[in-house]
Symmetry: C2
Subunit: 337 residues, 2 copies
Amino acid sequence: MAATLRDVAALAGVSIKTVSNVVHDFEHIRPATRTKVRAAIDELGYKPNITARSLRSGRTGVIGLALPELSLSYFAELADAIIQAAERRHLVVLLEQTGGGDRDREIAMLSSPRLQLTDGLIFSPLGMSTDDAELLNVGYPLVLLGERVFGSPVDHVTMHNVEAAKAATRHLISRGRRRIAVIGAHEGELVGSAALRLQGYREALSESGIPFDPALIGHVGLWHRLDGAEAMRAMIDSGVNFDAVFGLNDALALGAMRVAQVAGLRVPEDVMFMGFDGLDETQYSLPTLSTIDPGRDEIADTAVRLLVQRIEEGVTPPVPEVYLADYTVVDRESTAG
Amino acid sequence: MAATLRDVAALAGVSIKTVSNVVHDFEHIRPATRTKVRAAIDELGYKPNITARSLRSGRTGVIGLALPELSLSYFAELADAIIQAAERRHLVVLLEQTGGGDRDREIAMLSSPRLQLTDGLIFSPLGMSTDDAELLNVGYPLVLLGERVFGSPVDHVTMHNVEAAKAATRHLISRGRRRIAVIGAHEGELVGSAALRLQGYREALSESGIPFDPALIGHVGLWHRLDGAEAMRAMIDSGVNFDAVFGLNDALALGAMRVAQVAGLRVPEDVMFMGFDGLDETQYSLPTLSTIDPGRDEIADTAVRLLVQRIEEGVTPPVPEVYLADYTVVDRESTAG
DNA sequence: CCGGCGGGCTGCAACGTTGTAATGCACGCG
DNA sequence: CGCGTGCATTACAACGTTGCAGCCCGCCGG
């Protein structure tokens, strides 16, 4: 069907390799030959066969992106940014979903044969832990996102979780709040976004001499809106007193805010709300939600850049690179006053 | 680096082709040989090279998915569903973003060399129109989503836009509303989701003998939350009287609802709101948003099924198939009463 | 005892590309 | 006039796989 180098060569009356040279803009070609070959290429509508090229060169121009689920806005927006960053480097993205924190699926993904057509992988685990770090010693270029796994042998792009959560908490404190609830803690977790952000929260409290009250900590399973809603309801039902809520991500904060409003609390007068992630959606809630912008585009661009570097260098250097993106506090109506 | 058939063959003391046969579970192989080869495969950790296989067979096991942008929840949820549907059929998805309705980018996408590593494409255009239908006569399997282009030579999966919009409008009428505003119309559009849904709205009105009032039609550019918010603000400022709002998609409805609430209108008492798309998010707004569930999983599954069919049949039959998914009216707080 | 059949396996070619080495040729210099 | 140099082009092999034709051998029926 499709024209090949051979067809073009036959039509132009040159060798296959000469056509290949023309396609690659090799410099030592007579203008006359070049013109002739170009004409043949146009006439036949020749397009190089990428599969064959990949087989020869070992490169596909495709990178894998594995993340939990696109229906979570955070990951959808992250995927958007990564696809754009990849496109700037002339790469396409093969997208895999690992589900909401299924450790076994995540591990299986790492050795999936589907990755064969990929030059490398950007991986955002949710179910794996630091104990699984050595599993990341795969034989291909890999860049890690998020904060589930530390001390692994691969490059890692993440954010200043502790610092940013501290800044978020400080922001609430600066507005005069003292009884700041947290929604989204994970029982017993030591690393991971939840643990790190909680740590930032505690540091901000102690810095201001505010005692830590475990009754203000709302535990959840996942980080969906629904989980935030349930945790908020439980906290309200428990009768504990609070004047601000820090959702460890935006979805939790939005879910919690909705429940608080239904319960008759005014935002921000009675309770201030603060999220984390900088989702587009936070600009449109009622009231608009203050949040932490974790530098999504920077994270996406860096992840792709590091992956490309690994792909080109070939060998994993002894010291993996860890990159922390800059964050910004976004002040909106939910913390006005 | 990686083991090839040749290495396995050498280790097992058989020919390359025998190893290939074992890998493919060819039936005429002596158990002893099979065992020996299996052992060699395990020992070397052999994984077939998909690129080479693709070159030989012409199939990659990858399908392309081209849609406007993942940061729009509708497309993120659609992509999620399509990836899952593809996985069920052992296919992976290569995801491309065409931007928010850029016709030229969409057309360029159709002949992008990146599609070379793809067996076919599921394409959701936003900027193309029925005039561009013949451009869809590409040389590879293609399935179309959405309602921008009709009369094209390819399979088309979409929803009952007119019927569903009529049902949505009827739902508001059944709640006693008569002054039903629409947010999201596209000036001068004849096909496309906006035009079809508007048509359904008008049919429902005339069916109930309610006069059509152009002042109740809010025009927008894109279908983002922000556009819904702006159109609502303009309508309120215009002083026109309304007791319900039908957002032609959920994002518009949510943006509009927020503005209405800020303006002091009570939902659903003063104004009822109805969306369209069945986004997850509509379950968590305040109040929760009534919407039309257009059968996303069904659409995703059908699109993948049709594409696989085209890939396997090879030739495009003279009559392209058009599939319309079932819809459901989802009644929530925003239309309670 | 011979011919035919089919199971089990092998060798070769091909998919379309690109790197390497080699070829022919013209030109300039001693 | 002969030789080296550098340009323009070519032939060939290889990437790893799979389809096809063919090989050998044992068994069965005549």
